[in-house]
Symmetry: C2
Subunit: 256 residues, 2 copies
DNA sequence: GTGCCATGAG
DNA sequence: CTCATGGCAC
């Protein structure tokens, strides 16, 4: 089974590239972030023609997550379902077979110390709470998306520059570590230990050509899936030519 | 020699279609209107690769006219040169060989009776004055562009509806007739007398599929060129597929 | 840089 | 409907 996660930065602007991506990798499940459309504008028909079902938690101009699946998704749920109101569409879960998939778009956090920063840390706590209250670490779970956090030094080209930013500040790394500690395994790090593997490059500063990137998109597995993950990689090729998203997809091959 | 005029409604949005148009017809001269860019943003390089020189009278968000030529253009002049200030880029002339080409974008006119309406009538008077003071009816002149006036009933699908509009009001038809009276000949009407030949369809109202159009783009010739004009037509094909301009090009084949 | 919005133009 | 703008978000 091929599973992918990709922050497309507008599904409208990326529709052609998404179809090419699906054709190239034929993934069984794709978690998408920043689709930036309401459900009404989501391109269900085009994706159905490409052979995909779609579960969508949409929103007008910002955010919005989706899960594309070859098989029909079951138990689709939007948001954490923890009673708090969700003005932003950042979480979606769906089951395929016995496996639970969640597509997450963690808030960016604006500036360290700001209101948005607090919301980011708070949101990661809610995510941990969702795991605690709804998931079982010994069952099959794939939690994937744009976490807007680089976990370690080897995940950042220039750690000194980024340490003071919302993407690599110690506090947010700790908040992510607390989520992971529930019982998640970073699929990319099962076999790839080297530095320099990034999933995001700032559109400004022409960061991609200089590979001044960060690994902030992750595909986490619960323990039962770790031994079944044959391979995980970042699809840097997707960024070539045309108008790419600022995020590269993360892909994992998992025996199910 | 193939000569064309086309209101592209943004040269940025129409760049691909423009290149396809040039490849298809290989025109020697093309008058463009509503390029909507300053000279700094004009795609000189792409057009040079396609084999064209470009004379440009540009402007930031609105208006803007250009003349593309296979041979190098001479005596390029922006505006009427009548001493009045030109806050809007609507007129450009250039010579190719002995022939003078002018690309014009007559003001739309807003609402009949408005300030913009007066400016439209005034602008057409300035155009006539420019002809009187700078041109010779017995020399070779091609005056082409978006005149925002349909000259006759046969040039409008629904004359009754449009008679009260700025595009077909008797006053503006008279103002255009006064320009033509200087000594211009409507190339399309040399051989094509039938009704139903339009160059513009309102984006709103889905006017194109219903052919609810008007002929407001014209390619005028001075007398010495009339006998040399073998053919003139509207390129309706250009509107097919993708995101077309609301105007179709007018093309003439002229022996020079 | 690249996407969204609302607004203005046609 | 299809362009442009300036402003915001990331």
């Amino acid at each position: 089974m091929i599973v992918a996660t990709w922050n497309v930065n507008s599904i409208r602007a990326r529709e052609e590239r998404l179809l090419a991506f699906l054709a190239r990798h034929a993934p069984d499940v794709v978690c998408l972030q920043e689709i930036k459309v309401r459900q009404e504008e989501f391109p269900f028909e085009t994706l159905a023609e490409a052979g995909y079902h779609a579960a969508v938690n949409g929103q007008k101009a910002y955010n919005g997550v989706a899960i594309l699946t070859k098989d029909e998704p079951k138990e689709v749920k939007r948001g954490f379902g923890d009673g708090k109101e969700d003005s932003q569409a950042r979480f979606l879960q769906a089951h395929v077979g016995a496996t639970c998939f969640a597509s997450v778009y963690v808030p960016n956090g604006g500036e360290v110390g700001s209101e948005k920063w607090s919301m980011k840390l708070e949101w990661l706590k809610r995510l941990r709470k969702w795991l605690d209250e709804n998931m079982d670490p010994e069952k099959t779970l794939i939690l994937a998306g744009d976490f807007n956090v680089a976990p370690e030094e080897r995940d950042v080209e220039n750690p000194d520059q980024w340490e003071s930013s919302v993407l690599f500040h110690p506090d947010v790394r700790e908040a992510l570590a607390d989520v992971v500690e529930w019982g998640l395994f970073d699929s990319l790090r099962i076999r790839n230990k080297e530095a320099g593997l990034y999933t995001w490059w700032d559109y400004r500063r022409l960061a991609f050509p200089r590979n001044d990137g960060l690994r902030i998109d992750h595909l986490y597995l619960s323990r039962p899936l770790v031994g079944r993950c044959a391979e995980a990689w970042i699809d840097r090729e997707e960024r070539k030519g045309g108008r790419p998203s600022d995020h590269a997809p993360v892909i994992a091959a998992i025996d199910v």
